[in-house]
Structure formats: structure tokens, C-alpha cells
């Protein structure tokens, strides 16, 4: 009797969530902001909102790499490294050859990492998890070698990137000037482009896609190359934001980018989800981090809670939306 009464609304909630998968994420985001307001009412301000957006943007961009690859049942664990490589190369090459050349080289490096992933996944049929983990390690190694050779030249941050990363216009972070067109493009591609459809098709049933005439290798090669480029862009933006060239620059974004995609409802098994949820996932993670900081817990406790909340949210979300 009791189970029936608790089951029915739960089932109804589940159906609502299946139809509007983004709704519960919006509710969760505002619930977290509500908790934040209870903890410290003074914190909620235009400045805080703007700051949260600013921090969430690079995370949401890097999470695009995870979302797109996860739609096909893959993942891109080299995205953080590709971002770091792009940032580091830009910072160290700008004093030598100027900003445009440095950014060009940096993006080429990021694209190259993505293409190597693509070749490995498409032709050698290496599992994306292994392939991107491997290229990530190799790229980190190359960066170490590179660091030794350029140690004396110093670093410089292109003005455009600093403007994008730290500037504000009308109280909003300038990063939105990059992010809004980017997000619109990704959302459009996932719904309205043939390439986007093929990502879902391959993730749902690769054999069926093949039998329908899809040359899966083309999609994989293009997808991982694109992922490399997106990671590179993220690295540039992040560099302008933190203005430090370090070998572990984008490391703090690496696993949260996976978490943002998963919380946003993209299935790691492929075929389900989308970038809209990922953007909300990135915002939720950012607000959550602020909240945990406010709680003034020791670092260890904060991390434990952060991980536990991600697991709980994801488990609940999947349980509720995955009704046959």
C-alpha cells in the first residue's frame, strides 16, 4: 500500500522527466541556488552570477568534447591535455612569433591530438577510452620536452584571450561572446545536421548504421578531430582567464567535464543525451563547488561530498528517465 502511494508520483515524475529531460536539471540548479541563498543570503548578486557563468564556460566547452564523443559511445580523456597543450603553446610562443602565429600553432597541435585519436578509433578500432588516455599521456610527455626547450623565453598572454577570459561587458563575462555562438552551433549540429544524426545513430547501433551505408570511420575521424579543436579553443579561453601557463592548467576541468555531460543526461553507452543538458550540468557543478566552499569544510570532506553528490544525482536521474 505504502509502496503504491510512493510509486505512483515517482512514476509520474519519471514520465515528466522522459518528456522534458532538461526540466529536472533546471529544478536542481535552482534548488542549489536556493540552498546557497539560505547559507549566505549576501552572496547572491549580479556579480556572483556573472562570476559563476565565467567559471562555468570553459567547463561547459570542454564538456562538449565529452558529450559529442559519448553520443557515439566513446569518450575523450585527452581533451584536458589538448586544452593544456593549446594554452601552454600559445603562452610560450606568443613572445617569439606573436599572438596569431602562436594561436595557429596551438590549434594545430590540438587538432593533431584529435586526429590521432580519430585514426586510432576509426582504423585501429582501439577503444576510445584507451586511445584518448594514451594520446593524452603522449601529449603530456611532448609538452614536458617542449617546456625544457623554451624555458628561457618567458610567457605572454594575447590581449584578445585576456579580454575574453576576464573582461566584462554590461556586467556579463566576455567569454559569452565566444560561448553563445559555440553553444548554438553545437545544439544546431546535434539536432539539425546529418553529422549530428550520425553521432546518435552510431551510438545507438553501430551495426545498423553501417548496414544503412554509414562509413563509420569517417564519422569517428571527424568527431575526434572536432573534439581536439574544441578542447584547443577551451584551452585558449582558460589561458585568458587564469593567465598562468602551467603543465597542469586544464587538469581541474578534466574529470568534471565528464561529470557535467553525465549529470546532463548523456549516456556513456551512446545514443542518448545532448549538449543542452551538459550546459546545465556544468552550471550545476560550478554552483555546487561554490556551495561546498561556503560550507567551510576541509578540502578532503569537500571532495568526498562533491563526488557523492555527483553519483547520487546521476543515479537518480538515470533511474527516473530510463523507463521503458
Amino acid at each position: 500500500m505504502t509502496s503504491a502511494t510512493t510509486d505512483a508520483p515517482l512514476a509520474r515524475l519519471g514520465r515528466l522527466m522522459v518528456d522534458n529531460p532538461l526540466l529536472p536539471l533546471v529544478v536542481l540548479l535552482f534548488a542549489l541556488i536556493g540552498v546557497l541563498a539560505l547559507l549566505n543570503p549576501a552572496i547572491l548578486s549580479m556579480f556572483w552570477a556573472s562570476n559563476t557563468l565565467k567559471i562555468a564556460i570553459p567547463l561547459a566547452m570542454l564538456a562538449a568534447c565529452q558529450t559529442l564523443t559519448m553520443l557515439t559511445g566513446g569518450i575523450d580523456l585527452s581533451a584536458g591535455t589538448a586544452a593544456t597543450v593549446a594554452a601552454y603553446v600559445t603562452a610560450t610562443a606568443t613572445p617569439l612569433i606573436g599572438a596569431p602565429g602562436a594561436i595557429g600553432i596551438a590549434m594545430t597541435c590540438a587538432l593533431a591530438i584529435g586526429m590521432v585519436n580519430g585514426v586510432g578509433v576509426a582504423f585501429a578500432r582501439v577503444h576510445p577510452l584507451i586511445m584518448t588516455l594514451g594520446t593524452g599521456l603522449i601529449a603530456t610527455g611532448c609538452l614536458l620536452v617542449y617546456q625544457r626547450s623554451v624555458i628561457s623565453t618567458g610567457t605572454e598572454y594575447p590581449a584578445l584571450l585576456v579580454w575574453l577570459g576576464t573582461g566584462r561587458t554590461l556586467g556579463l563575462p566576455n567569454g559569452l561572446a565566444l560561448f553563445i555562438p559555440f553553444a548554438i552551433l553545437i545544439l544546431w549540429a546535434q539536432r539539425r545536421s546529418g553529422f549530428g544524426r550520425l553521432l546518435y545513430a552510431i551510438g545507438s547501433n553501430e551495426a545498423a548504421a553501417r548496414l544503412s551505408g554509414v562509413r563509420v570511420w569517417q564519422v569517428h575521424l571527424a568527431l575526434y578531430s572536432l573534439s581536439g579543436v574544441i578542447a584547443g579553443l577551451t584551452g585558449l579561453l582558460y589561458l585568458g582567464m587564469v593567465k598562468t601557463a602551467s603543465l597542469s592548467l586544464a587538469l581541474p576541468l578534466d574529470l568534471p567535464s565528464v561529470a557535467a555531460a553525465v549529470i546532463g543526461g548523456t549516456s556513456i553507452f551512446g545514443g542518448r543525451g545532448g549538449y543542452g543538458g551538459t550546459i546545465l550540468g556544468a552550471l550545476i557543478l560550478t554552483v555546487l563547488a561554490t556551495m561546498l566552499t561556503l560550507l567551510q569544510m576541509p578540502e578532503g570532506g569537500r571532495r568526498i561530498l562533491y563526488g557523492a553528490i555527483i553519483l547520487a544525482v546521476t543515479a537518480l536521474y538515470i533511474r527516473l528517465t530510463d523507463r521503458g
Binding site: F195, N205, A208
Partner: protein
């Protein structure tokens, strides 16, 4: 016949799966010294019966006794302990372990295993060879030798000789016969009448989940057995002289010559003309899967040629076949559908497959093409959303609609009506005929013999990887097809 002495005695076995009564009254007795063939057409309940005999399933009624001991509640291990050892069509060996390790897993006496491997014609088999490195024929021998080594009282052999080369077949048959002569019992399941005639004493025939006959093997018994499997008397229809080369100048849409894949498909030749529905009839595993896979670009042939409209082709990818107008509806819908995606995305998939269509989707054009295909096949789209929520019949329609939307030239249908309701089946027959009338060519494999008359113009019969007969639909009654499918084409001398 001495029932009390039977080594295996199964009587009145029944089994229901939900609403389906798979077995109603199946019986089988095998006395020591006998080889008994267990026979039945598709859907007769043979595989369910085998699963019950070997303890993999529990019967709802009836009993199975091995050496007089009730074994109906037993597991596969229990059946094995009481003396029944099965050897299945797919070798039950672990690929990443060596032969010796596999033997150790099953507690097989190694010396006797070695003896039997030698007797079966593979004396040079290395015990440390990894299973995955051995050819399929050797695996069958290893599996059989392993079973013989435990000296079972009852041996159950399921399609043992499929994919064995002829010299090994002879050895295997003589070893099996010798087992019976030594006082053991053998249940022999095979599609090959010649083997049954060579080693079996009796045949037990299943039809519609019931044992309908038990006959001694004698020359000319084949017709009686086919009759029992069908439940109707065999009347070999007067066959009209085969229409050959009537329009020889006209290149057929699809011309296949000597096609082989190195495994089950050994030598298939056929012509498929524009406007024709050509049936393909074969028992399970006679090479029809491989034939369709090659034609759809999903597998490469090792020998033979394929011509489309007179031009030789060699497909390396399904995309090549689609470009040549050959489109496949595979037998398993799970291989064709994006279960989590919408009907529209499923139907539109081939339209977006090529590199040139990666950009913006022409939404309006897509909607109208998909809509027209849905309309034509009368797909019930009330269950909006994911394809997995559709009924089996509607799912099958989606897989066909995909190619209607793309434009049909040569349609390869692999058992398109399996497991779907009768109304949808009728719709598919009508659709196939319409497509042919509009100039398509259709290759139609079916596991339901009655469909040949309903849907096809002619049928090729494949047995052992070869075309053994070509039958006009008018002559394609079930007995004729079934006889041909069992390789019994003795009609050559019959005057028209």
C-alpha cells in the same frame, strides 16, 4: 523395441512459453545399440525438446528417464552425471584456453581424449594449441572426442557434420555407429538424409510439438518422413520444364556465379531479374546468411562473381552495395534499428549516410519522404518516440520503409516475416509484389515454406552451400520445397 531397457526414455513431454505451447506431447525412446534420428521442420519444437532432454529446461509435464533414473529436475550437469552428453552445433569450448585447459575444465580423461581424436582423424592435434587458433572443423572433432572420452551412455549429436569436410564426416559417422554397436545409445539430429540412412536405426519425427511418428530406417523412407514432418501426403507435383534463357539478351538485375565465402557458402549461382521476386529456401545454416551478407556488402566473398545490371561488382562496404542499388533488410531487427531513436530518424538514416549529407538536414524534404514511406507501409506511429516501443510488425515495417524512402532497386529481404503478426505478413507480401511490379527486383529468403507460393515467382533451394534446385512458384508446394531443402532432388528423371 524394448521400452523397459531403453537407455533414454522421454514420454509425454510438454512445455509452454507464455502463450506459446512449444511442446505438447513429445516422446523419444532410445534403446542400447541404437542410433535414433530426431527430426522436425522449423518450429516443430525440436530445439525445445533437446533443451529438456539435456536438462537445460524443465518440462511442464512428462518425464525424461536416463537409464531408468528420473532426470526431469536435473540441470545440464545433472543430465551429464546420469550419462547423457550432448555435442552441439556451436562448439562449447573456451576460445582463449588451450585444448588441454579446456579438457581440465570438464575433467575429461586425457588419454581417452587422445585416443578419440586420433580415431576421428586428427592424430596431430596439439594439446597446447589455443582453441581460437583451430579451424571450426577441428573444434567439432575436439568437442566430439571430449564427449566420447567420458564414455557416455547416451550421446546427443546436434548437426555435428555441418561444416565438416567429407573425409572427416565419414570417420565421424563410423565412430558414431561403432558407439551404438558397442551398446550405447545415440540421438542424432541432422538435416542430411544420406547420413541418417547410413547410420540410423530409427527416426522419431516431431510436428507441432508432438511426436507424430517413429519409423525404422529403410530405403525409400525419406518420403514418409517428409510427409510426417508436414502432416500431409507428399505429391510430387508435375514440374514444368524450367524456363531457361527466355530473355537471355536482357542482363538480369543481379547475376551471381559460383559465390563462396570459405565457410558455409560454397557455390551459389542465381539470376534475379527486374520485376521478379526470387525466393530463397534453405534449412538453417546452409549458407543463406552468408549469401545475403555478401550481396549487401557486409562480408567479402572468397570466390565467385556478382554482376549488377551486367556490371561486375565487388562490395567492400554496405555503402558500396547501396550505391549499386542493393539494400538489405536483415533477419534480426535488432541489427537494423536504432531502438532508442524515433521512427523518423530510423527511416531517414540512409538518406544522411553519405559524407555529402553531413550538413544541414533538409527538414521539409525529409519529413515528406519519411511521411510517404510511413503512409505506404501503414506504420502505426501512435507510439511516438522510440522505435523500441513499437510492436515487432511495426518495427519490421520501419526497416523496410527505410529503403522505400531511399528508393528501391534490388531489395534483399532476409526472413522479413519471422515473428510478426499475420496481418503485417499479408501487407508485406502485397508490398513486395507492388515493388516488383514497379520495377524492383526482390530476393526473398523465407523460413516459412508456404510463403514461396504467396510472395515469390520462383525459388532457389540451397543445401550445403549450393543451389540444389530452382522451382517455379506454381510448383512450390511445401513437400516439394522441403524435399529439395533436404537435398532430395530425385525429380530429375521424372517426366513433366
Amino acid at each position: 523395441m524394448s521400452p523397459p531397457a531403453a537407455l533414454l526414455d522421454a514420454t509425454g513431454v510438454a512445455k509452454r512459453f507464455g502463450a506459446v505451447l512449444a511442446l505438447r506431447d513429445a516422446s523419444l525412446q532410445v534403446a542400447p545399440g541404437q542410433v535414433v534420428a530426431l527430426m522436425g521442420a522449423n518450429g516443430a519444437g525440436k530445439s525445445t525438446f533437446v533443451k529438456i532432454l539435456t536438462g537445460a529446461l524443465k518440462p511442464d509435464a512428462g518425464h525424461v528417464r536416463i537409464k531408468g533414473q528420473d532426470s526431469t529436475v536435473a540441470s545440464p550437469a545433472g543430465a551429464r552425471r546420469s550419462g547423457l552428453v550432448p555435442v552441439y552445433q556451436e562448439p562449447s569450448l573456451i576460445p582463449d584456453l588451450s585444448v588441454a585447459d579446456n579438457l581440465r575444465l570438464g575433467d575429461t580423461p586425457v588419454d581417452r581424449f587422445r585416443h578419440w581424436v586420433g580415431a576421428l582423424g586428427l592424430p596431430g592435434l596439439r594439446q597446447d594449441a589455443l582453441i581460437r587458433t583451430l579451424p571450426l572443423a577441428s573444434l567439432r572433432i575436439v568437442d566430439l572426442a571430449r564427449a566420447l572420452a567420458v564414455e557416455p551412455d547416451v550421446l546427443l549429436l546436434d548437426e555435428l557434420t555441418a561444416a565438416l569436410p567429407t573425409d572427416l564426416v565419414e570417420r565421424v559417422l563410423s565412430v558414431v555407429r561403432a558407439q551404438a554397436d558397442a551398446g550405447r545409445a545415440v540421438i542424432y539430429i541432422s538435416h542430411r538424409f544420406t547420413e541418417i540412412a547410413a547410420i540410423c536405426d530409427r527416426a522419431t519425427v516431431l510436428r507441432d510439438g508432438q511426436t507424430v511418428g517413429d519409423v525404422a530406417i529403410a530405403p525409400g523412407i525419406e518420403d514418409t518422413i517428409v510427409e510426417m514432418m508436414l502432416g500431409a501426403p507428399v505429391t510430387v507435383a508435375a514440374r514444368s520444364a524450367r524456363a531457361t534463357g527466355a530473355a537471355a539478351s536482357d542482363a538480369p538485375r543481379l547475376r551471381v556465379r559460383g559465390l563462396a565465402t570459405g565457410t558455409r557458402l560454397t557455390d551459389v549461382s542465381l539470376d534475379l531479374r527486374q520485376g521478379e521476386v526470387l525466393g530463397v529456401v534453405a534449412l538453417e545454416g546452409q549458407g543463406q546468411d552468408e549469401l545475403f551478407d555478401v550481396l549487401a556488402g557486409n562480408r567479402r566473398a572468397t570466390a565467385g562473381t556478382v554482376e549488377v545490371n551486367g556490371k561486375p561488382v565487388a562490395f567492400r562496404h554496405p555503402a558500396d552495395a547501396i550505391a549499386a542499388g542493393l539494400t538489405l533488410v536483415p533477419g534480426d531487427r535488432a541489427h537494423a534499428l536504432l531502438m532508442q531513436r524515433s521512427v523518423r530518424e530510423n527511416i531517414a538514416l540512409p538518406l544522411l549516410a553519405r559524407l555529402g549529407t553531413w550538413g544541414a538536414i533538409p527538414i521539409g524534404a525529409e519529413r515528406s519522404r519519411v511521411g510517404a514511406a510511413i503512409e505506404r507501409l501503414q506504420i502505426d506511429t501512435r507510439a511516438q518516440g522510440e522505435v523500441r516501443r513499437l510492436s515487432g510488425g511495426n518495427q519490421q515495417k520501419v526497416t523496410i520503409a527505410r529503403w522505400i524512402a531511399k528508393g528501391v532497386q534490388t531489395l534483399l529481404l532476409f526472413d522479413p516475416t519471422r515473428g510478426i503478426d499475420i496481418r503485417t505478413k499479408q501487407q508485406i507480401y502485397v508490398l513486395v509484389r507492388e515493388l516488383a511490379d514497379q520495377g524492383a527486383a526482390v530476393l526473398f529468403y523465407t523460413s516459412e515454406l508456404a510463403e514461396v507460393r504467396m510472395a515469390c515467382d520462383r525459388a532457389v533451394v540451397i543445401f550445403g552451400g549450393r543451389v540444389v534446385d530452382v522451382i517455379d512458384a506454381a510448383d512450390a508446394d511445401e513437400p516439394t520445397l522441403l524435399r529439395a531443402a533436404y537435398g532430395l532432388t530425385a525429380t530429375a528423371g521424372v517426366p513433366a
